[in-house]
Subunit: 366 residues, 4 copies
Amino acid sequence: MLAIQEHNDLELQVLIGTASVVDRYGDISSQLEKDGFCVNAKFYNLVEGENPLTMAKTAGLALIEASTAFDNLSPDIVLVIGDRYDVLPIAVSAIYMNILLAHTMGGEVTGTIDESIRHSITKLAHIHFPANQDSFDRIVRLGENPDCVYNVGCPRNDLIKAEVASPDSLLIVQDYFSKNVGVGPVQDLSNKFFVVSQHPVTTDYGNNDLYMTNILEALSSFELPTILLWPNSDAGSDEISRAVRKYRELYSPSWLQVFKDLPVQIYIHLLNATACLIGNSSSGIREGSLLGSPVVNIGSRQNTRLCSSNVITTSNDPNDIKNAISYQLTHGKYTSDSIYGDGTAGVQIANILSKVSVNLQKTITY
Amino acid sequence: MLAIQEHNDLELQVLIGTASVVDRYGDISSQLEKDGFCVNAKFYNLVEGENPLTMAKTAGLALIEASTAFDNLSPDIVLVIGDRYDVLPIAVSAIYMNILLAHTMGGEVTGTIDESIRHSITKLAHIHFPANQDSFDRIVRLGENPDCVYNVGCPRNDLIKAEVASPDSLLIVQDYFSKNVGVGPVQDLSNKFFVVSQHPVTTDYGNNDLYMTNILEALSSFELPTILLWPNSDAGSDEISRAVRKYRELYSPSWLQVFKDLPVQIYIHLLNATACLIGNSSSGIREGSLLGSPVVNIGSRQNTRLCSSNVITTSNDPNDIKNAISYQLTHGKYTSDSIYGDGTAGVQIANILSKVSVNLQKTITY
Amino acid sequence: MLAIQEHNDLELQVLIGTASVVDRYGDISSQLEKDGFCVNAKFYNLVEGENPLTMAKTAGLALIEASTAFDNLSPDIVLVIGDRYDVLPIAVSAIYMNILLAHTMGGEVTGTIDESIRHSITKLAHIHFPANQDSFDRIVRLGENPDCVYNVGCPRNDLIKAEVASPDSLLIVQDYFSKNVGVGPVQDLSNKFFVVSQHPVTTDYGNNDLYMTNILEALSSFELPTILLWPNSDAGSDEISRAVRKYRELYSPSWLQVFKDLPVQIYIHLLNATACLIGNSSSGIREGSLLGSPVVNIGSRQNTRLCSSNVITTSNDPNDIKNAISYQLTHGKYTSDSIYGDGTAGVQIANILSKVSVNLQKTITY
Amino acid sequence: MLAIQEHNDLELQVLIGTASVVDRYGDISSQLEKDGFCVNAKFYNLVEGENPLTMAKTAGLALIEASTAFDNLSPDIVLVIGDRYDVLPIAVSAIYMNILLAHTMGGEVTGTIDESIRHSITKLAHIHFPANQDSFDRIVRLGENPDCVYNVGCPRNDLIKAEVASPDSLLIVQDYFSKNVGVGPVQDLSNKFFVVSQHPVTTDYGNNDLYMTNILEALSSFELPTILLWPNSDAGSDEISRAVRKYRELYSPSWLQVFKDLPVQIYIHLLNATACLIGNSSSGIREGSLLGSPVVNIGSRQNTRLCSSNVITTSNDPNDIKNAISYQLTHGKYTSDSIYGDGTAGVQIANILSKVSVNLQKTITY
């Protein structure tokens, strides 16, 4: 967004909705304004219920709301990110309205419903910005015109590169946590500590509380300071929250502090400093590779997403999780690996978009 | 639907919406009941306006309505057909709700927005029923598991096979038209006559009236009896209707009779008996190949869809169209070609669905 | 709208939707622009089907779309008109969003669902502009604060007053009809002619075709030139259209010319010159009273709406209708009556809105 | 519901949605099943955001979803309750679909947007079940046919009558609270204790956190055990929650225990035993009158709703609140007053509905 905003030949328009505008999941509107961005359209479409049915309702409302926004804003290009369930309807809205569609982070292979959504968006998009060479190759194999596919690396690494340059990583984190206490006892982050980020596996709706409970059980044998982040708003989110609440009520763990949401800058420093990131978030695989953070990746959610050596993938079994954590504790930090780009994705994307000349009518290449 | 209904191990549930339930486009509810089917859920979601914006609105409402229907009906498998703009939201609704998705007629290559929608649905679907070998191969190249792809031929050919067996093709047509007169002078169909079926090219919104006018201009030099069918409900539909109305007002053509909609049985006999089908409907390419009907396929809508020798593709230029029609008039009927199947698709699909065992979690094969 | 636009202390914002933006019912966008108005928000929410179910769907979508528009436009006051099924959701949206609601033409008594909708909107509105003293009194009896109720007359009479001043009434009409022919044989309007405007009675869904057929039967005994206007988009609209189409196919009446829609200026001149207006439109009662037009008002739709002596109300029986028409033919034009205002409503409304100071929190007065 | 279910000539169908199906506000589905009811239709329509815009969105989605449910269930009568923002769209859906509408608790006078919604529903409804004579009179003054208005008392009093008959009021409460601890220190309810139930005033959006903070400040001078209930889902709900969270973080009050939701049976016993109910909930006025519970009613939300002597109404000022609480503490329990009915409302409603014969076409009586 920064690179687009600063580009002379581009005008940035920002559209936000679903969980991004809801207080409960951390409304990003004010953060965007603080960062110097103007929100051109903001819509509320998150239908409460956090189950597969409301995922569909939320997507339907996104389609209805986004089409009004596109009609008002008349963008030349719509740029969508990744593979969330609320991104596909935005993509559908754009192409139905004859607007060029650009897509970042396509071509990766993971688990959950995201896997289907990601490739489905690729087949709608006109311009592709995969985050690594493996994804570039896959998008071309999916029949997309290679002239419209650009391996620019992962845009998140742009931010990491900038943040990591800051010498006072842990100090910044400590300062933030001295002012924001979340729920549960305040943890000492000056020595070894864990970060937990576990999201629902929507295709496994009904088991997400068990998966979360297994992680907490594995962690209980270490009793190291742990920062746990709230799950995203996918179906199953409530199962995870319930498991955490129940565990806290039953065991009052002295080592567990829970946060609804963290500013991305803080999260990066946390990821950089943690002894181990545990869960199924993609951040350990993507940002973690550049940072060299030890990661225990659990279950099927990330599937075969391209990983560097910093990641150990385990089953949902508490013992497997425990063993993997022990290994990472012993190993410590890894060497930085730029398989997900070198931190220049934003500038590359902006340059390409400013010159792009693509036919609205797509055709498969084979 | 017939094959599924008659299968011992399957239960058929029928869901209809969008144009299928609207009188203006020919409400199919009563036809379904006459044919012995029960409609399990019927929803109204067609937002008037017939432009790119309302296509998106209609799709959004389809998502909202279909998810309620799926919640009520709890199907094990959702089977969607083809590549229309209102089919993609049904597919999205199914996979978000963790229901197995089966898809017919995937893998083909055409023009318009349908091209993107078709491949996008393929990347969401768990089970694929392409209509020919070419499409089978393409779906596999798209990274779908070959064990889940079945070349069963085109289901529409099942009906053609049955109908064509009837010896009184033209008599049935004449009887129908003696009772249904549409708009404009009644045409004599006992000798050479034309059929026109031209749909909007949504990615070319704004030019669809010109395309239609060109066709009428080309036809005016023949003055042969012509049956023209109303376009479908895509964005641009109004442009086509307007062009037809204007032409009729200006020239009162004695050779032109217009129908909103024809029962599929009548249409097949018409296609079987016509001297030439003109327009951009897929029916000339698909059903036409089995029937050997001469076809002039106009413009980009069908793109490179697999064709038999009965099809001549031309530009939107009135002279090109005229020359192609002349050629087909001279050539006459072609030999039947079963590239789109031999008329057993329904039974094959029902058998496969009755035994299918597929993982809800999809992964790309490469 | 004109008076608001010209007022120094007010800024006009125009929001259009439902049938007003749909080509089939006469899209008014271009007319508004020709008249010097800017459309600030335009939304498509008319769900096809024209039955009670789609009336509800259309209203639901109106609520969703209007709230986005209000959020974007931030109006201080929302002014809604009358009692249509798509006006109530706009009123609901405004009051839920803490915006002052003003309402014209409240307090009247009629039939159909409009009767309930009108009074329901009154109980939501903060400022009331009834069109006559009878309605003023009723609104106050409904517990509204008399300080917020203003008998300004009917805004439609403003236009009538201006138009009627023009000396060439019939010439203007003839000129228009020389260029717009509608459907059916062109009628001679230089002598006695009829106008028919019949809308669906939604609470009597299923009988609207019969009511229309009765009218046509009654008219057939006069064989005077007749201009018939298409019904509005309420549930039952399709029943009426079908009845007209069927009658035209069966009898090819030489005296019947049908128009989808007429510019309001033309309609006024037509109403001014007609020997009799037949149907259940409110225009005969309202505008007709100022013009002195003979009116045969049929059935329950207008119920006990305040009428001047120019109106005869009859049942739906073809004989009753025929007798009433005969009476009006003999009687001829009536004296002008200003029970619905003297043509200054717009200026009065603008002045009041510019000074209004009303508490957002309503309370019933008794 | 119980009385309808048990009536021989009636069939009960239950429709739930909005906050009633959402875990966060206490999903009532399972409670309904435990109580022996079957849920015939359940829909998710609560759009997150808890602001005036999402109130409108939620209502729009309710209209869309309810119409599908009514189409599936084909009820003869729709019975709606009270005056919530999500009840009006249900009423609109019913009358647009030509279904008889019955309404309980109409005719009362209160503050907030509920005041407008309540009377607006009255003008849509065909059958009225006000909870007291004052409301009966007001509904008739609103122009409703007196033959369709029945003063049956408040249905909630039916439950109170049954529960109060139980001798072990406080024991039941204590047992419940021994198993459900909510948030904050467990309170001793065997002696004097307070209950706080404060909901957002939607027309005062932006001030709801201040109102809540004032109450907590007033309570801090008593330091008596206090049970605080979470607000409903109206716009402003988040403001109240935030005020409570902030107060707890700042002062860690030893006397404050917070519950998301309580079963209605428990709430009744709590209301019966409390030294004072504080806030703006209608329950103190309605159920409180029969129970004789001391109530401090704060601010404009209940406006001039009919009250018995057990209620003292104060401003939002902390000192006023404090003084009123002191008075009620000294006064103690009041004599039971049946101005809101004697506990037979359910049976009366069921009997009336079983015999009702009302015209779908409403007309105002004056």
